[in-house]
Assembly symmetry: C2
Homo-oligomer: 327 residues x 2
């Protein structure tokens, strides 16, 4: 990512947008995004070959499962979101770092940011942000989803039928134990996932973690109304002593549904070093060639992946919970 | 591409498709494609980072050109086409080779094939097919386009504002000479192009060639009504003694517009060896690691590129010709 790109983007953002309904010709890509009605949805028009093939294999795997009818190949995303992600990386001023201070900015009622976007931050860190509402869903449904789906890999496939491959948890009995609290079921119970991000498979170990241990102020978190948390620190599944990512997924009930706020940082960002293992990230990322350019492509691919999978989950979650929520 | 994938695809194709309007849940990806109305169009939901950046640079380059108002960032494709390309590679029985016999099958009125698709053929050859109608356009407009746009690189950018980078022709004066026939202007007048196919830049030298020299029967070509030809043999711009591709773009006037029929073969297909330089393709492709897997990804990326660029050209060509057709 060059400063030139950022400068161009800032310049473009400062230009007055054409009025909605302006003639097709002469519109800018920013005006196309801005003119798109907020509720317009588009079918996903691009799917890497590896994901095309994964779909057929997942379709076989899920046959006969009680939830097979929820395996829906139809991927749709908000048109405005897909177009906004095509405007190049975010201005750095619109990004958060993984610092404790920035985590608390995220839940500050005064905090404003673009709905979604991607960028490269310090330490060749791929950064993604997103904020969306699941219509007709609740934070309780999201909590249920994160205790229910890792029990079987085929449940994980419902979430993104073309890109989700494997999923397991260290102690499935504890995750499934309804006599325990959500926190006791999911924290310190590492979740292995294998998924295609863009065309490439990623194998990750997700450590879901209490928000306070990540750096959120517990009181502020509660006051902001967040009651669902699927945030964690993450590293490659092949090197379990290395932490190179933090992922934030926090949910709260709002008018009309559940609001999900997400952030991802993948790289050797210095602010991750408060987590044991993150001191090894820089060496590992350098060894695999994860430079700024790779980070930028990864950030965009992850932003697209996140947009697809959470819009897809939103489209099935209320009905899935209705049918299996007591399991 | 494994035989297993092809077998799965054949199997799926033989299953009865769900009726249009079936419940969202339980539909297959093939039924989603089949249920989509033919005239439904979708915004392109994915654009590689390199193309996002190229757009801003092209937007600067085109400023002040008489045709700047035709530089339209809004990319739309037929929804059914985008979804059909996500079903995996075509069955080989649905593909044509670059042989003389298959070129003549292509213009045989009895020939039927899927509207578009991609595959890998012999010699790790990336294969793409497409057939579409430009509403309100004529074959004459397409002929004009291929004599007009290579004169300035910025004209080439109109065609795909996010992916077209450079364009020039060996003898621009001859290409622009309206006292010569189309054939005398464009044949034996190599066209250099640089464009992003997927995320990667390709630099090619296109030799537009008389259909009869490619292998079409001239009488059959005329009887089938084709009056526009922008077909040619193609090689890397960096190695002008090597031919590793053939590209077919032939157009004819039909009810409502112009029908464009396209085919691409990129690789060391043995049937290309009738063209001098193609005997060097196998060695070169092997050197750059162009195996079956790379060919398959290239074929899908090229299919997406072709779908976007020709739908985009269709959206501007009649008005562009109206304004500049006498140049």
């Amino acid at each position: 990512m060059s400063d030139g790109t950022l400068a161009r983007r800032s310049l473009l953002k400062s230009l007055p947008l054409l009025a909605a309904g302006a003639a097709m010709m002469g519109s800018t890509s920013e005006s196309v995004a801005a003119e798109t009605p907020e509720n317009e949805r588009a079918p996903v028009t691009y799917l890497p070959v590896s994901a095309q093939k994964q779909f057929f294999s997942n379709k076989e795997a899920i046959k006969g499962k009680a939830y097979e009818s929820f395996f829906n190949p139809k991927l749709e995303v908000p048109t405005a979101d897909a177009l906004a992600l095509q405007l190049g990386p975010l201005d750095k001023a619109d990004c958060l770092t993984p610092s404790v201070a920035d985590l608390n900015r995220l839940i500050d009622p005064a905090y404003k940011s673009p709905k979604q976007g991607y960028a490269v931050l310090e330490g060749s860190t791929a950064y993604v942000q997103n904020r969306m509402v699941f219509p007709g869903a609740t934070a309780e449904m999201l909590r249920w989803w994160f205790t229910w789906h890792p029990i079987e890999r085929e449940r994980y496939m419902l979430w993104f039928p073309q890109a989700h491959i494997e999923n397991s948890v260290k102690d499935p009995a504890r995750l499934a134990n309804k006599n325990l609290s959500y926190e006791d079921r999911i924290y310190d119970n590492p979740n292995y996932v294998k998924e295609l991000v863009g065309p490439a498979p990623m194998e990750l170990l997700i450590r879901f973690t209490d928000p306070a241990k990540l750096g959120f102020d517990a009181g502020a978190f509660k006051r902001a109304g967040f009651t669902a948390n699927a945030s964690g620190i993450v590293g490659p599944a092949q090197a379990t002593d290395v932490i190179n990512s933090m992922m934030i997924h926090i949910g709260r009930d709002v008018d009309g549904g559940m609001e999900l706020v997400s952030r991802y940082w993948i790289g050797a960002h210095p602010e991750l070093r408060r987590f044991a293992g993150a001191e090894k990230a820089a060496g590992m990322m350098q060894k695999v060639g994860f430079n700024d350019q790779v980070a930028e492509m990864t950030a965009y691919e992850l932003a697209v992946h996140d947009m697809i999978e959470f819009n897809h989950l939103a489209s099935i979650l209320p009905a899935l919970y209705e049918r299996f929520g007591q399991e």
